[in-house]
Symmetry: C5
Subunit: 154 residues, 5 copies
């Protein structure tokens, strides 16, 4: 099955993965939006960005959106990911840019409104926390996953 | 096999997945379109958006398309996903933005016509509702799928 | 292996999948092109669209390309998939929009020339028509594919 | 692992797949470039196109790039795949358009310079030429691949 | 699971793969940036490029970004991968162009600022250096991976 055919359809046969629409608006009134989840939540979450587009009444100026998240040195960094201007490029496809919470979107330049659209993907914990028995079976027959799995701590 | 090579071709060897062309037009005459399926239908359905393009006779104004669907809190939200303007960006590739029915497309700004094109993907229920015997086999040899599958209720 | 890395390379190790370049030109002289295959052919075929671009000598007008194919109700529908205009967007990436033959491309608006480029993907029938013995083995060890496979009739 | 996350990373754990940067320049001085490999080479090769962009000093005219390769009837055909113009679209993302050598890129219209960028992917022959013993094992436990594999002759 | 749904989510259930945001800025002040990793590091690293966008205060001129890396002949080559101009295309989606360190980004033409955004993906060495016992198991039940794996030396 391919990446185009099978997103949520594939999810249909994988009860542990769910996908919901996500959207937020940035403007001079609300310059930033933080996507975060309850740390007690045993599920894993991620955001897959699909499009960023200019909203109604936007001025013909550069609207630069940056993402604030942690790099591999665990430092918080701000990375500009989009620059949209009404007269030449009012929207862009973000190619499923995937981000893990907590992540903040900020309108660095311009007054918007700018709309971010994507999907909020949830992997249920039952998939992540397999019982020892199950892990044992897995160890035996799917050696691609090494036996001594360490928890992902990012 | 890769995401580009193998979409429907892959489907060819997966009898439980079918894919059909999907299209709808939004304009001042028909401002919204709802994609929904018969709830009695035992198959699972999803829409994979490929392109949104301006139609014949469109004016040079912003045409903003929004998607109305449920977020992970089960609230209905409207998310602008495209802003097209004839003189700068008459169409966009939507990067296989996948949505599950029921979902509504609405022309929030502009009078169109705007065309939404994509694929309607169907996973047959025989794939989803395996008999207990089959589930038992699966439990034993594919431990990636945990034994206690709960039905996906979204 | 990922979708970018592995297209034809992956095909290399999957002798049953082959991929060839595909192209057609639409203009006022040849308004439509139908991609179809010999029904006697035991292979399965699909088209993966990669780019649509304006050709030499095109006028600065909207060139709208539509795809004519069957929807999930087995009705023939025409879906506009691209709108290109020389002065603002002379080409577009079609994101591997995959279509199954028979499918017709038609220049709905404009006089072109417009070029459609992609790949013609073929899955050999030996892969599709497994012997009963093989199907039996599959039933036993890959329960993801249910036992009572019905032939795909689309 | 997904198509975005895992390209070369996935390759990391698949020693038989390697990926290198690829680039070529087309202009009035060098109108075409052919990507081919030594036929004695036991590895399989493919090109995955990522971007085509206009170079320094380009004129504001249409630069049309065509790909010359063999279609499924083994006829050599020329397919225009990109049309770039400085004042409206100086570059394009080619969505991993994958091509097998020998393939020629030609600047059909315009004087360039135009830059083609992508990846050269190599699957080592040890992966392709499995011993009979290995093939036997595969037959038994991965019935998705039918027993009577015919060599891919494209 | 598909390429859109499952990036980091998939990573969630694959403890050996981690993904972090990556960003760098090129301008007349800092014309180039090299992404490299400690050679002692036993993990494998790659960069997946998502977007390149013009920054605040950029002039309306061509900003050409090139990638400097090694080709399959182990020669260092410079490949232009993007050409952005404020008045027509202030940003581009790079379609997950994946590169292995060491790799240098250089602003070949223009004074910027230009922002490169993507993901830094890390595959932990425990996944890469399996014990002999594990490799033995793998040999037996996943014959797709041939027994005599040679280390990837690129």
């Amino acid at each position: 099955m391919n990446c185009c055919t099978s997103g949520q359809c594939e999810a249909m046969s994988q009860p542990e993965v769910e996908s919901f629409i996500f959207g937020c608006e940035l403007s001079w009134k609300t310059k930033s939006y933080t996507f975060k989840v309850d740390e007690e939540d045993e599920c894993e979450h991620c955001l897959s960005l699909h499009t960023i587009s200019l909203g109604e009444g936007v001025k013909d100026e550069c609207n630069i959106v940056e993402v604030i998240a942690r790099n591999h040195n665990d430092e918080e960094i701000a990375v500009p990911v989009a620059n949209l201007k009404l007269s030449c490029q009012p929207m862009v496809n973000m190619d499923c840019f995937e981000l893990q919470p907590p992540v903040t979107f900020r309108l660095k330049t311009g007054v918007g409104p700018v709309h971010i659209a994507g999907r909020h993907i949830i992997v249920s914990s039952s998939h992540l926390n397999q019982s020892d028995d199950e892990a044992q079976v897995e160890k035996e027959i799917v050696p691609i996953k090494p036996a001594n799995k360490k928890e992902r701590t990012q």
